[in-house]
């Protein structure tokens, strides 16, 4: 709550000092659609991270998984460019790729005791190098000087002609509704959420805690992989996987969204909008003024610190 109030005050101050920035960011329907395009992968990645957090695990490898998902769809999409299945095969395999990374991290955590933050950070590093190498090497577009893969022959179906907003947004919204339903309204959701405090309740009822946690992390990582695929599959700047795709920050932003939402899935949407707003405004800020867009990242990092401190302070108090 304090975080949201703080950001609202900061937004108000910005509006007073730099009304142009807000005008650039939200002053037209196209600007607003651009905002929704930014929000789409954030919402999906935030969902993935939040699901893991509810079981007491932190999926810190989101950034790497996001990049891996993007690269997967770029490779599959260009390899199967002659078949209509390329789009769906790409999305499915991006999900599977993310799931595999999640499986590895959670298997190490649950069966070998390797902390998921450590393995997640290392996995991020591995995926960063791997995706950069593949986009710059075997799958590089030979016709271009820039280091990226070949252009996808398709884009995700658009929701509004002329804007980048696509069915990824609808998919994200459906997933969010389904997620809220499962985690807040069903028996299985309550058991999964109880894993954040203790394994005992699920164990005694007959739901194996380890397997449940692994399942949730696999699905979560798969969802983040899908977010990466949706980003690459969008019209607009991408449609090809650039070698520096890792570092776009969506995976880390997903972590902030998950932490900001706390135990409530209902807060996922406002958290997503907040982070998307921050990202969108920092883009506008860099256009309207000479300030670098990394100001937004800095604000995001501060939010992350505050959210993480509040969350873990409350946990340690309880």
């Amino acid at each position: 709550m304090f975080v949201f109030i703080g950001v609202a005050i900061a937004g108000f101050v910005l509006l007073r000092l730099q009304p142009d920035v807000v005008n650039v960011a939200f002053g037209s329907p196209m600007a607003f659609l651009r905002f929704l395009t930014i929000a789409t992968p954030l919402l999906i990645a935030g969902l993935g991270v939040h699901a893991c957090l509810t079981t007491g695990r932190i999926l810190i490898a989101g950034e790497g998984i996001y990049a891996a998902g993007g690269l997967t769809v770029a490779i599959v999409g260009t390899s199967l460019s002659n078949t209509p299945l390329g789009l769906w095969a790409g999305l499915t395999l991006a999900f599977a790729m993310g799931g595999c990374v999640g499986l590895l991290i959670s298997w190490l955590r649950e069966n070998k005791g390797v902390h998921e933050v450590i393995s997640g950070l290392l996995m991020n590093y591995i995926l960063q190098l791997l995706t950069r190498y593949l986009a710059n090497g075997p799958f590089r577009d030979p016709t271009s000087d820039a280091p990226h893969t070949r252009e996808l022959p398709w884009t995700l179906p658009l929701l509004y002609p002329g804007a980048d907003v696509n069915i990824g947004l609808v998919t994200g919204c459906i997933m969010a509704v389904f997620y809220i339903y499962v985690f807040h309204k069903t028996v299985i959701g309550r058991y999964i959420r109880s894993l954040a405090t203790s394994d005992g309740v699920t164990h005694v009822a007959g739901l194996p805690p380890k397997r449940t946690r692994i399942f949730v992390m696999v699905v979560s990582a798969g969802i983040i992989g899908l977010a990466g695929a949706i980003s690459i599959g969008s019209a607009g700047p991408f449609r090809r996987f650039p070698s520096d795709f890792y570092g776009s920050g969506v995976g880390f932003d997903g972590l902030i969204i998950g932490l900001l939402a706390g135990p409530s899935a209902w807060l996922l949407l406002p958290s997503t909008l907040l982070i998307a707003c921050l990202s969108h405004l920092s883009d506008a800020l860099s256009l309207a003024t000479s300030l670098p867009r990394q100001v937004g990242s800095l604000a995001g990092a501060l939010l992350f610190l505050i959210a993480a401190t509040l969350r873990y302070r409350n946990q340690s108090r309880s």
Binding site: Y181, K185, T186, R190, Y191, V201, V204, G206
Partner: protein, 482 residues
Amino acid sequence: MQPSTWQHPLIITNIKLGYGGIPVVDGFNLTVQPGEIHALAGENGAGKTTVLKAIANLIGVMSGSIVIPTDNRDKSSRVGFVLQHDVLPSNMTLGACVACSALAAGHTSKSQDEQQLLSRVGLMVSVAKRVSELSMHQRQLLQVACALASKPALLLLDEPTAVMSHTDGLHFWKLLEAEVKEGLTVVIATHKLEDIVDYCSHVTVMRSGRLVLTRQVSDITLEEIITGMAPVTTPETGAQRRPDKLISSEPIVKMCGNGAQLDIHEHEIHGLAGLDGSGYGRWLKALALTCQDDLTVTVHQESIDTKSIATRRDMGIGYIPADRHLDGMVVTESLEYNMTFGQLPDSHFKQWLPILRDSDVASATAIIDTYDVRPSDVTRRLDTFSGGNQQKFLVGRELERSNTVMVIDQPTRGLDRVASAEITRKLHAKSLHSQTAILVYSDDLTFLINTCDTISVVSNGHLVQTKMAFEWTEKTLIEAIV
């Protein structure tokens, strides 16, 4: 550094305490002189734990005052607190737990001191062991060791002996007496009224958050304490009349291991008695949770050794765990929310259907009424209920399910006499009316003798004796156990 002691009394004047603005204790006064062992007695939900938490400054005072005197060096007194449920980090070693407690109070601690302290409290295990490897009663002893490591002037104890066996309890009280001679002052909340009479110097009786009486123990009888706790007509708390029932000849449950066989029939309540570490837990686990190496179990003539826990629940094998906080419920959620737990729906499809909140509220309300859980608010968070009332809710929730076999571990832990007697009555009713076979372990031998039809004694994992309950007395049972 010498332990801090008091020159002046602890004075509590007209305090009002509560959770979320709702008062639980009101107009409560207490004076504890240095060197006393002062007991707080009262029914479940009387407010004993709340008062202890307020003294320890874990919750704020809504009105009134608590004056904790400075110690013999005019420094603020150190207060040690042993909670009813341990809060020790499970991955830490015992030595680290003790050392941290000592360090937090400004003392240094050596490994041999830590080992010595553990031995002094009766915990004969290595300091290198981890908390997760300890049983519940061992963790309770570790909490006592940690509290003593900080060399407190005042030690607050919340039901410390609830999870201890008779022998451990004796050792614990001797330790406490020795510490008091060194200048320690103790305030203890307990349901074991005989312990109050035997070991405490003063007793304060509470009822519904109010002070009923404060006396020297030498000036009061056990009956007066009981009357003070619940003066209104209460159900009989002594030996329960076992209902007349026809126990079938063919057992529902057959458990075999180490050359012994344990049969549980329809309508039968089969008790297990044994010391902590005697291996009784393996018999409970073999039936309720997972296969144990040398035990084989059949239910309705079907082997369940390879069956998963979920399948066992589907077969109608219910389980009430001993540790209600870790295994039974989610204490940060409300009572109606906790109705979901304990058993998954019998089909996978139902697990994904929306929870019917009205139905859960109705079920939770029924349990509150039937088992006298107080306060009667199903939307309150579980951790704002007293330990005894949480236990009543857990037992009620599981007994109300339609299981054919029930495995119950320590059903009366943290319950007062009236509530324990009520649980006995409910178990009798369950076994009589629902053809349920019940296997129950308790370290409360009176409860076992009053409740069970048959009692088996477990030692070193073996069943050493099985007799009808009426053939046992508390004395013979203790002899068999020891």
